[in-house]
Structure formats: C-alpha cells, structure tokens
Symmetry: D2
Subunit: 338 residues, 4 copies
C-alpha cells in the first residue's frame, strides 16, 4: 500500500500517517518526490484499513499494491479448484453446460426441460423457485412448491439441480433440494447470505452483479471461502453499460482474467447477459474458446408460454443444435469428457 | 404497451400475439406500417407481463407506454407526501439535514457527533450499527451494541435516529432504536427486506443503488408502499460511471425528475456519492437549489480516527460552516422553518 | 415511428402533431389508450426528424419503429459484403488477421514486424504514422516519414497496409500508401473525415468509439456508404465501463449482433479493448468462435522499446503461437482459406 | 510515478526498469515489499512515457503520482483565469448566461432569440451554423450562411457570439464571426482542431465529451493552452451512463472539482446534458449554487418549429422566468455584476 500525500501536506501530517502505520506493526517507508511525498507501507497491510488512512489530513489518495482478496487468489492457491457435482466437473480442463427454465412453472414444463437438457448432453439442471423481481406485480416464483418440482425433475433425469436462494431463512429448505446454491447478481453483496450459504459447505454458484467489478466479485467470494468452503463457481452475466441493444454487456475478458487471478472456476450466463436468444449460440462458443469452464443457459419447452424471460430462452430444438456445436468444439479444444 | 413485430413476422404470429392480449381482457389494436406491424395494447396492461410477450415468435420488442410503477407515481397521488419525524419534515417545501458518523464506534464519538449536529441545526442523527462491507476483513459495525449507543445519543440531544438494517431478522431490534429504517444501496433490490421493513409502518429511507435507474428505484419503493406504508424517503447517492475522480457520480438531475414523477420526498447523500469531503458543501448547496428535500452528510468528531469512510466525513467545524451556508440559502429560497 | 403523448396532452396538441406529420406526406394513425394517446406515423418517416417532433408541446417521447440507418442495414442488402484486399478477404466466411506495431518507429522495427506477420500467416499489416494522443506531451507519430516506412515494409512482404488518417487534409497522402484507410475510435463521429475518406472509394476500417452504441456506429458507417463506397470494415475495440482491470470492455455480443443487423464485415481489436497482452489470445479465439470476420492485433519486435502501447503488444514469438491456434480453429470452424 | 512490479518479477527485470528510468535523467528509488517491489521515479517524469514502461516485462502497472496535465493545473497557476468577452466575464466570481438556438435557421428566428437573450439579461449568444449530426439524413446546419445570420443578430443586440467549428479548414471563417470558438463534445479529442483553434488566440469554449474523464478534458485543454492561449472555457454537458430518463447524466461534481484542480472557468450546459426542457431551471440554479461560472442554454422562439433539439429548448418566456430566478440568486451568492 502506498500513501500519496498532497503537495501541500505538512511535515506533521506526514509524521502522523507514519505513526499510524507503525502503530499496527507495519513499516513505513518515506520517499520524497519533486512535488509530493509517498509513504510505502511494508508488512501486513491487511491490518490497515485503507479507508482509515484516507481520512487523514494531507493524504491525497491510497494506492493499494497488494490485492484486497486473499483466499480466492491464485497467489494463495495456484492449483485450479475443481468442483465435482454429479457427473459434471466445474473447473480445470472441463466444460459444463447448465441449462433449464428461468422459473419453475409446472411439473410438465420442468420435467420436459430437464429431459431435454439430459438428452442433449447438459450436465446440470437450472430452474428458479424463488425469483427476485424488479416489479412487485411480476410472478415471484413458486417457492417451496417449485423446489418439489425440481426434485421430481432431478429424480427423473439424474441431473443435479442449481437454484437460487434469496433469503438466509430459506437456505435450509433450498439446500435440501439443490446440489448447488445460487446467489443471484442482486445479492452478490448480501454479505449475510454469502456467509450463511457458504457455511452449508455446499457448492455455491455466485453471479457477478451487473454493477460489480471483478475485484468486488472476488471480495464477495472471499466471504464464502472464509467459511471454509472453497466450492465457489463464479459466473459472469453481463455488466450494465450504455449499449441498449443487449440487456447488459457480456464482459468476455472477465473469463481469461479471472482464470489468471483466481483458482476458482468461471462460467458465463449468456441468457441474462444479453436477453436475446439469437446470441446464446455465438456467445456460448466464444466462452468455450476463451477458456471458460461452462455456460448456464435458459431453455423452455415453449418460450412463448414462459412466465419470465421468454425472449432469452431457447427452445429444446435450439438447445440440441447448440449442444451439437459445443460438443465437437469442446473436443477439438481438448476439454475432458468430450 | 405497444408490441412491435419484426418485419419478417407472419400473419399467424401476429394473430397469436393478439389472442394472448385478448385472453387477459385487454384490447389489441393492430397498425400496419410500411415495414412493420405494431400492436397497441389498450386496457389494463398490468395484467400482461412484458417479458411474457417478448418471448413470442415474431416479436421484435415491447415498448411500454404506461409506467410500470403505480403507488409511488405522481399520477396516482398528485399531492407531495410529507413525512414528519421529530422536529423535521421530509417532503413538500421543507429541507432537512441528516448528519452523523458513518459508523457508530464509541459512546464518546457518537454523542459528540450528535451534539454537534444538534447545535449546528441538523434535524436527524445518522449512524451505522450494521455495516455492509465489501471486504470480509473490514470493520462490520457494532451491531446491537451500536444501537444502544445511538439510543444514548438520541436521548442526550432529542434527535431522531436513522440507521441501516441489513437483514430481515434484525428489523425488530433496529426498529426499536430507529425513527427511520434505512435500506442501503446494496439492498435496494432485496425485495424481502423492502417488504418486511415496509410492514413495520415506520418511515423508510431507501437509497438508490449505484447501478439502478430511477425507474428501478421507483419499483423498489413500490414494494414498500404496497405494504400500506407510504412514508418512503428516496435518496440519491451517486451512480457508477467511468469517471475516477469521484467514488460515484452524483446524478443531480434525479432530484427534479423524481419530484415530477413521484410524490415521495427525495434527498441526496453527497458523502457517499463523491467520497471527498471538499465536495460536500458545493453539492449540498446544489441539492438545495435544485429543489431537493434534504441532504444526508457524514460528520465525525475526528475523521482521522474514523473506522470507515474517513475521507468523506467532514469535521464538526466544517459542519457548522456548512450549516451557516445552508440556513440563509434555504431561507432565501423560501423553505419552511428557516 | 410512434409519438407517445403525455396523459395531460390536449386535443389541440394532438391535432397539431397530426398536422405536422401529414404536412410531410406521411399518414398519422391515432390510438387512444386508457391513459395516453399514441400517434403512429406510417409512410416515409425519413422525412420526419425525430427531434423536431420531440419539441412539440404535449409530446412525452418518440419511439422509433424503423431503424435510422438504411444503406448499411441487412434489410437493405441481405447478402454479406466481402471486401478483397491483397490476398485477404474481409467478410463472408473468411477470417483475416491484421497485425503490426501500434506506431511506426523505425525501418528496422516495422520491417521486422511485417516479416513476422507475413511468416506467421497474417494477411494485412497495421501501423500508425499519425497518432491521436491524449497528451500533447506524448509521441505523435512520424507522419509522412512513417508512411514511407510502411511502403518499404509493404514492398518487402507484399502485405497490404492499413493506417489511420486523422485529418481530411491528409487523406490524399495516406491513401497513396494505404490499401485501407483507418478511421480511429476518437474520429468515429468526425463526419467530414468520414465523408471525405469514403469518397476516395478505398476500403475504410471504421473503429467503434469507446463511447458509441452499435446504432451510432451504423450511422457513422452510413456517412461513408452514402458516398457510394460500401467497402467499410467495422471494428469493435471495447467500450468504456466502470471495470478497471481492462482499459475498456470488449463487447463481444456486438459481433453476432452486427452480423445480423448489417451486411458489413465486423472485426475485433483485442489489443486496444483490453490493454493487456495476456488477453490477446483468448479474445482472438473468442472472436473467431463468435463468428467475427477478423482480428487486428498489435505486435512489436521488442514491446519494451515500443513508443506507445507496449503493454498490449505481443512479441513476434507470441504472434506465431497465436497463429498456430487461430489457424486450426479457423479450419475446424470451416473458414475459407484455412 | 511508481512502477509496481509483479510478484514474479526477476531481479533482471527490476534492473532493466531502473536503467530505463535513469537513462532519461530521472532517479529510481526501489522499495521491496513483502510480496512486491515498487520503483519510485523521482525527477522529471514528463520525460518518461507511462506507456513505454508499461510494456516492460515484469511490470504489473504504473501508478502516476504527478498529474499528467500541467499548464491548465491550479498547481501551475493558482490565480483563477478570467476571460472578458463583451460585457461578460467568464471565471472568478462571475456568472455568465450564454443562450440561443441549437441551430441557426432563419434571420427572424435568430434575431428574435438574440433579442430575447439580451432583454432577459443574458450576456452571450449561442447558435450553431455547422452542426455535427449523428445521422447523415439530419439537417447539417446552414454553414457560412448561418454565420452571416449570427453577424446580423450580434449587430442588432451587441451580444458576442459563440459558435461551433468542426473542421480546421473552417476556423478562419468561423473566427471572423465568433467572439468565442466552440469545440464540441465529439471533437474534444480532435487534437488538430484543438491546436489550430487555439492558435487563433481567440477564447475557446471546450465541451467535455460525454465519454471523457475530467483528466482527459484537462489534457484536451492542455493542447490549446500549449499554443499560448489560456482563454479556455471548460463546459460540462453530461456523461453517458445507463440512466435512460435523461439523454446524459450531468456530472455536477465536476464543477467544484475542476475549480480546485484548474484555474480555467467551468460552465454547464444543462440543455444537452439532459435533453429535457423542464430540467433546465433546477440544473441552472444547482450550477450557480455549486460555484459554476455560467450556463449555456438553448432557447428558441418556437421550439416546436426547431430543426433540432426542440425538446430541450426553452421558450423565450421560460428564459425570462429562469433569468428572474438566476439574477437574485446570483446576487444573494455575491456574484459580481448582479
């Protein structure tokens, strides 16, 4: 951590900063430039809160040198984390396809979707029972009833289920149905939920908020890993930008970047990122080529009847066509299991 | 609501959309253009989920004509909502100053800040007992202990307290100390929290997420007002942009816009919006001139000792100086009580 | 085009809008909703300036139904445009690799880079002679001298050259060296430059501004195609977002979207989009998998000595390694010429 | 400037960076941290291009300590620059109102607007003769003919004129009519135009691009001031964000920030920032309260007939009402001349 002092900073202000640094056991290293002084902090900077130092008089800004995340970092653990769920492995040299409806609506719908996913070669079933909806007037999900339908679909197909949990009080019931607990983009910084979901020691699918930076995603994952649970699957689902053609802008660069910076697997959700079903195929293939560990795709037996996100759901036929492109490409790229 | 069909849409696809619209009791009104057909939906469009229609084949996009929010709209209730809290009124022709430390740290600190706020002419004390922190390694607030310190400070000064609640399970204990429950920016779309906090019938200070649109803020407020509680104070605290000089970009236009579109009061938090104490004064005065109903400001007896957000907290002396500018300007602008 | 009237709009205001529409020969189609009236404009809406109608009293907003661009649209010309340059074809089922240094510095440097590009299998040489630099204190390019060095490198290798033109007065001299004129991101809306460069009838490489929407890119290309020159190569090079890890955020969705909406070829510049050399390979492969028509990559014989953008330039060895991945993948995906 | 090395950087790579720094006459100061080494650069860092060092192997990133701009900085010149134009002064303790139509259309229109501006108490007339338009099918301005109409309006009222120049080849003719040359947002980084307009030694109104940072605005202004012309008026006109209610988001914080960082005057254009005429008044008053040096407002005798930007133009009556609020507030705030 470097503390950059204002060019108007007094000797006393510099001294005061140095004292604070040494107070917590770190070493301060003063470097006087032509215009400004910079104080390097050497030692365990975890002990020093950046925001505390920013409040000191004479301080212009703080430049972090070490990364603020630790347990999720590839510097902490070099070997990629692989998470085994049913027949699927997330991480390493694997590529998993998670697919299913946006929200669970009827037994018929979710079972049809699950069978299609299984048949096409997908490994994990997704489906929402609890839905966070911008409008209080929109369909909010079937809740516990939806979980039961997911159980049925899972039993029929053998596919493990990933489903979202919104409220810490629902973790127990959701965890009894789900092989993977999903923390949605809107809850990425719901720190209580992160901690309590992590504590179940179940795999957690953590979606990046559409307004979060990669570093903030890592800090959110850090909350989970800190509970002793390193089975965290990161998911890029688009960031909010000024481009109106797509719902959000898929940050494809996040895939190779996260693979460099962290040991955790990173997958992509092209359905939510774009909101357009015609983009699912090219973006799924791009994710695979960019080195991603999987995709999560919305599929609905009858998108026109979907109670949410119909425009971004692909049909069962389209899913089959997509898998017929993913499989040979995954094999060509040397992915295991293809 | 207008449904714009693709220029490749078939007669059958158009018919199918019209049937769906009429199925829920609305009227469809087809208009064939040179290239494209547009279907107007007349009647109660609340019954028709936009996302459902978007999933239909042949649909290019949906153009909402009515606003998706209702209870918070100035079309629903023209008269501005005024919320009385202690000596302060939020809304109408009033201007309230809410001030206090980012987080409650010690009795000495919070009492000193409260006395300074009272003396300078502020009307409401702010202070965080539960802190949502990006890093699991940062100070997370004193919790219940902090609420007790706020009680002491409130009793000493007579100032009502606003403090944040993060978890639905804490609503009861927070509500026993707080005159106003704050829903923070990160929880703006935590719909369970909105609903359960609303149900207390206490005034709610709802902060706009740094990634939310004004319409999404209204939809979040709609969740609260739907519980029968219209005592909602909206708060603009900056949006995330590419400008690095300030932590976020204060959207000052949101103030007059929200006053036009809604009956709810709108205040500004310049401290979190900018992260820079030297901007608090000009932005507070700008908020007042733009017609805002108040400001929420971080003040700390010793910003250098603050456990969070020191760089954006002003000192007690600076608070006094600021109030000496706010008061005559509020009077000049005809605000009541000045 | 639909004109949405305010719910407070008077009969007179509605009448006035209808008159204006009919004045220019279009037909107005009034649809009275529960709360609001909407006026559909049928006929040649090119005759009606959206901004003019927006100024009318009682108008809430204008919803365009037709796209504002015409000549670049796939609705205007369904068949993809293919542009032949030297041995390369841009568009259709081809994938071109354009590579070379950010700026031309010395004969030795540009010739070494050109030979490496040729040897590795790249088809077009890039290199900047005129450089738009944020700082007046940065290296501004060699100008005419740089063009001469590009001529030498082109002659030595047989590679055609793409280079940027900044000023309409330089078009002639740049066009005498370049097979393709580049309009940089900062000049995407320099409409004089677009028109005058288009008029040369040379192929134009048009880079998307980091702050432009896809529609604005199309409108800029429309300026060129309107001169009778449809040899326009669109280039996505990242948009400005709040994510700090990369210089900009590559909008990979733009690739398949542009292929759907336009007949013009679309390539990607991963070097400028990210500013990080370790991302060039995964993003180039992602571009190929997403259906892009090519990539433009910075390569430098000695990136440490580069006068600009060293951190994003790959070495000659890295270029070879990249091409050894691009070539088999292009072949696998059925691209012609691989 | 601090060069942060990767934690994998070798001794040789560190040595290589130090040599490069010392090669240009600066001093390198190595500080070895627990994980990483940081090299401080002391001396004239203007000599060292940040991008060059970023290209070195082993370098993680460069942290600038000094600001990249010089001549426009308040560190270079502490005293605020005041620019006298006709009866108006821009800068210091003055507040100027610039008003007029978006584009010059007819003699009648521009003279009516000019008289209204004069009568209401505005000091400078704006009006576009050359219009940069996103669409090649939109009205592009009257050109030289428009300049003549501005001359007439200026003579009739005595108001000095500000008008935009788009092309370096038009500078001479525009400068013969205009008291102030305007560089539009789209041309903020047209470095040739900046330099050649600056060289006229006329006052330059430089609009901030909707995608530019404050630092980039300063760098653009630096191009002008470097020609020996420090008569530069900066203008904030909104930045592009994800908020759709307003055309752009006015960054009001830029006003006090720029006043701290630079000696140049800073004004606000609420018309282009928001695109909504009902926001002009509150944002003009907010600008005044935040310490801005002026506003630039679109006014049209008949906004419904305007050939561009009608929705954001206020009427002559509204201009008078606005001035009746600006004048007493400016007086109350102690602005000179009110």
């Amino acid at each position: 951590m470097m503390v950059v002092m204002k060019n108007t900073a007094t000797e006393d202000q510099i001294k005061h900063v140095i004292e604070k640094i040494e107070e917590v056991g770190a070493k301060a290293h003063l470097s006087k430039g032509k215009y400004k002084s910079v104080i390097g902090v050497i030692g365990d900077t975890q002990q020093i809160d950046r925001e505390v130092l920013e409040g000191f008089l004479g301080v212009e800004n703080i430049v972090p040198i070490s990364k603020p995340y630790k347990l999720v970092s590839s510097e902490f653990k070099a070997e990629p984390t692989e998470i085994k769920i049913g027949d699927a492995i997330l991480g390493g040299n694997h590529f998993a396809v998670i697919a299913g409806p946006c929200s669970v609506e009827t037994e018929e719908q979710v079972v049809a979707a699950a069978k299609a996913v299984k048949e096409a070669g997908g490994q994990i079933l997704r489906g929402g029972a609890y839905k966070p909806r911008t409008s209080p007037y929109s369909f909010q999900g079937l809740g516990v009833e939806g979980l039961k339908l997911l159980d049925i679909a899972s039993k029929e197909t053998g596919l493990p289920v990933v489903t979202e949990v919104l409220d810490p009080r629902d973790i127990e019931v959701v965890a009894s149905s789900a092989a993977i607990l999903q923390i949605g983009a809107r809850n990425m910084q719901n720190f209580t939920l992160l901690t309590e979901a992590g504590a179940t020691q179940k795999p957690i699918l953590l979606k990046k908020s559409f307004s979060a930076t990669i570093e903030e995603l890592f800090m959110a994952a850090e909350y989970i890993v800190k509970t002793g649970n390193e089975k965290v699957i990161l998911c890029e689902r688009g960031i909010r930008t000024f481009e109106p053609y797509t719902r959000n802008t898929l940050d494809i660069s996040a895939v190779p970047l996260i693979k460099t910076l962290s040991h955790l697997p990173i997958i992509v959700d092209p359905s939510h990122a774009t909101g357009k079903r015609e983009l699912i195929e090219p973006l799924s293939l791009a994710t695979l080529a960019a080195g991603g560990h999987g995709v999560m795709i919305e599929v609905h037996p009858a998108p026109e009847e979907a109670l949410c996100d119909g425009s971004q759901s692909i049909t069962i036929t389209q899913l089959k066509e997509l898998m017929e492109k993913i499989k040979p490409l995954a094999k060509f790229l040397g992915k295991q299991g293809y």
